[in-house]
């Protein structure tokens, strides 16, 4: 990418300046991956469950408009007010309008990656609305004025000492104290006050059931429930792909979600919101924001099966060693790298290349998205659309020419080996990224082709 915006490789290089921190980040997420493995291996039907989830989601994507309309009708019958937003802007405007209409200037929000994608917090702040994130990890990154670095573990990049410092500044905890119990208690007291005073609560949606018009929100902290139950208005934001056909399908997804995400059998709270309680108003905003375009991309449509468990991030050897912020998008890691180019191919042209295509992401995915195959396919699309450098194009053309012609290849190989042997300084220098931290291979006297010609020629 030829722009002043740093790409994944540059941001990852910055992250890698502190190797001890990279080790810590890698080990922390690997531990989560191991917890996931333990849970998966403890369930004999694990692979069948993944297959079932994948097929249910395939069915959803093939019948999305019907399920959405069924969901809308049933939700309305329950007394829920349904809104449709074509994009992030419409979504944010609907939220603002609901708040202003009710004279509300303060809102509490539980975890919703969709609102991160829509940059809702920034928008509302500009309009003078105070938003407090109630998920502990989200609250921490909010205090640090940073975006989440992981969709399930938003502040996984922060050490407890750094959280202690933040809490000392913002919540008045003792300086230098990083005791997790003390910090958690401080957050709890702080958020309790927030829950009691906010008149509007926004939550995300993990699953929306077409058959019943209800939706399910999964948290470990109960913060979505605290917010929603105490507020006069509950706004739930959901992407159009969150639909599942029937309530019984939760028996598949709820068993997969937390096991894949954190290695728990199930989230502490799996709350079903069916209808508004007396005196409360319940709003659902159904958001497209590029999803229907992705649905129309045959090679990439099944990325919409994602249930946002984050397992692909925890297993990704690149994510673990580059950190979520290196992906410079709301959803980091392998899944983010196949979702983001749909929203802005030029801005996120680097992300499908931030992978070795090792395939571990596809293997842990609970809904069997072929993530690494889609990374490969996005690379082709991005190059075809011209989002690559002139230098890369030229070198690839030269490579293609050389490798299509045995004569050019044999001469090139000979010349290359001669240079390596007799003028190693030509490659062993700082302009060669291989040589920076790795030695070049030793140069053999002859290629295998030359050896074969002498030793096996019939």
């Amino acid at each position: 990418m030829e722009s002043e915006v740093k790409d994944h490789a540059e941001l990852a290089a910055i992250f890698n300046k502190d190797e001890n921190r990279v080790d810590w980040h890698d080990e922390t997420l690997w531990w989560v991956r191991q917890k996931r493995d333990k849970m998966a291996h403890g369930l004999p039907g694990w692979e069948a469950l993944r297959e079932a989830a994948s097929q249910i989601k395939d069915n959803v994507l093939s019948n999305l408009s019907q399920y959405l309309q069924q969901f809308e009708a049933n939700a309305q019958a329950n007394g829920t007010i349904v809104h449709w937003a074509a994009d992030a802007k419409e979504h944010n405007e609907i939220v603002l309008e609901l708040l202003l209409k009710n004279g509300i200037r303060k809102m509490v929000k539980s975890k919703s990656m969709l609102t991160e994608e829509c940059h809702l917090n920034e928008y509302l702040e500009q309009q003078g609305i105070d938003v407090i994130d109630s998920d502990l990890g989200e609250r921490i990154v909010q205090l640090a004025k940073e975006p989440p670095s992981h969709i399930v573990l938003p502040c996984i990049h922060k050490k407890k000492e750094e959280i202690g410092d933040l809490f000392h500044i913002h919540l008045g905890t003792p300086a230098g104290n990083a005791d997790p119990q003390l910090l958690t208690e401080a957050a709890r007291q702080h958020l309790r006050e927030v829950f009691l005073t906010r008149k509007a609560a926004l939550t995300g949606v993990n699953f929306a059931v077409a058959e019943t018009g209800e939706f399910v929100v999964c948290t470990n902290e109960g913060n979505a429930d605290m917010g929603a139950h105490l507020a006069d208005i509950h706004i739930a934001s959901m992407g159009i792909e969150k639909i599942i056909p029937q309530r019984k399908h939760l028996g598949v997804f709820l068993r997969l979600l937390a096991r894949s995400a954190t290695g728990q059998p199930i989230t502490t709270y799996s709350s079903h919101f069916v209808k508004p309680r007396d005196g409360q108003r319940l709003h659902i905003i159904i958001v497209d924001n590029g999803r229907s375009i992705q649905l129309g991309r045959e090679d990439f449509r099944n990325s919409l099966k994602c249930i946002r468990c984050g397992a692909c991030m925890n297993t990704c050897p690149v994510y673990r060693r580059s950190g979520g912020h290196s992906y410079h998008t709301a959803i980091a890691g392998p899944i983010g790298a196949i979702l983001a180019p749909n929203l802005d191919m030029e801005k996120y042209a680097d992300l499908p290349f931030a992978s070795t295509l090792c395939g571990s992401c596809s293997n842990v995915c609970p809904v069997k998205i072929d993530i690494h195959q889609q990374l490969y396919k996005w690379r082709q699309v991005i190059v075809q659309k011209g989002y690559t450098t002139t230098a890369k194009k030229a070198s690839m053309k030269l490579m293609a020419f050389t490798l299509s012609s045995p004569a050019a290849y044999h001469t090139g190989g000979k010349v290359g080996r001669w240079v390596l042997k007799h003028a190693p300084f030509a490659v062993n220098n700082k302009f060669n990224p291989w040589f920076k931290q790795r030695d070049m291979p030793e140069t053999p006297e002859q290629s295998f082709g030359e050896w074969y010609n002498k030793n096996r020629k019939k």
């Binding site: 994944h8 490789a9 990852a12 290089a13 992250f15 890698n16 190797e19 990279v22 890698d26 690997w30 493995d37 998966a40 369930l43 004999p44 694990w46 692979e47 050897p317 690149v318 060693r321 580059s322 290349f353 931030a354 992978s355 070795t356 295509l357 090792c358 395939g359 571990s360 293997n363 842990v364 690379r379 082709q380 190059v383 690839m396 490579m399 293609a400 490798l403 299509s404 012609s405 045995p406 290849y409 190989g413 290359g416 080996r417 990224p433 291989w434 920076k436 931290q437 790795r438 030695d439 291979p441 140069t443 053999p444 002859q446 290629s447 295998f448 082709g449 050896w451 074969y452 096996r456």
Partner: protein, 242 residues
């Protein structure tokens, strides 16, 4: 049974020893094996960089070189996976070669059904699972999946007299080579390689082996820079040893 030997371009140029061992091993097992001299590359370096549309020349050349054989065998999981998944005739789109291409160890276990080998290698060896061979060609079971254990390269190494295969903390984590990733994402690539190497060193490996010389070249570059005495060897060199 006529077998065509495909030697990936970088193995031909930098690691002729791995190619010679592959040839000798196949000959030792009585295979009628030939190396077509005009071969170059499978086209993967372009394709993985997003330039699959430039691989037509490579594809046609590959098909021309290997169409006449009953099997094509290569000492590389990565190149074989690329051929299986992406190589098709550009001049003649019907010309496919995918079904008869085999990575060396799967050819030995699945086609030749090798039950014993006259090899001897009395050393402590760490087996690196190259991702494309493992997760792409399913040469070994993958730790992410809930499924029975097996390993085609592992079963062959266990036929070697005197060998001691060491355990690893992370038995199938990527080494970070990743083709052009190794230079485009230099810092992450090197860190992944250092971590992989450290796992082998921690368990006392004298040699690191695997089915892909590319991963081994990357790890060798790191080992040599660290001044380590630990060597990398292609699995064919161990299966052909002694």
């Amino acid at each position: 049974m006529k077998v065509g030997l495909f030697i990936p371009c970088y193995v031909d140029q930098f690691y002729p020893g791995a190619a010679i061992a592959t040839l000798q091993l196949l000959e030792k097992l009585g295979v009628d094996v030939t190396y077509p001299p005009n071969q170059t590359c499978c086209g993967q370096p372009m394709a993985n960089s997003g330039f699959e549309h430039l691989t037509g020349g490579c594809n046609d050349l590959f098909i021309k070189n290997f169409a006449g054989f009953d099997y094509v065998v290569a000492p590389s999981g990565s190149c074989v996976l690329h051929i299986k998944e992406h190589l098709h005739g550009d001049a003649d789109p019907q010309a496919t070669i995918n079904h008869k291409v085999y990575e060396l160890t799967e050819f030995l276990t699945d086609v030749l059904k090798v039950k014993s080998l006259p090899a001897k290698f009395p050393h402590k060896v760490g087996m690196h699972q190259s991702c494309h061979g493992q997760r792409g060609l399913h040469l070994s079971q993958m730790t992410e999946l809930v499924a029975p254990e097996y390993s085609k390269p592992g079963s062959l190494l266990n036929m070697v007299e005197g060998i001691e295969l060491i355990p690893l903390n992370r038995k199938d984590e990527c080494c970070g080579f990743g083709g052009t990733f190794c230079v485009a994402e230099e810092s992450v690539s090197v860190k992944m390689g250092k971590d992989r190497v450290a796992d082998h060193l921690e368990h006392g490996a004298e040699f690191i082996t695997g089915v892909d010389m590319s991963c081994l070249m990357h790890m060798e570059g790191i080992l040599n820079r660290q001044g380590s005495k630990v060597k990398v060897l292609h699995i064919a060199e161990i299966l052909n040893a002694g």
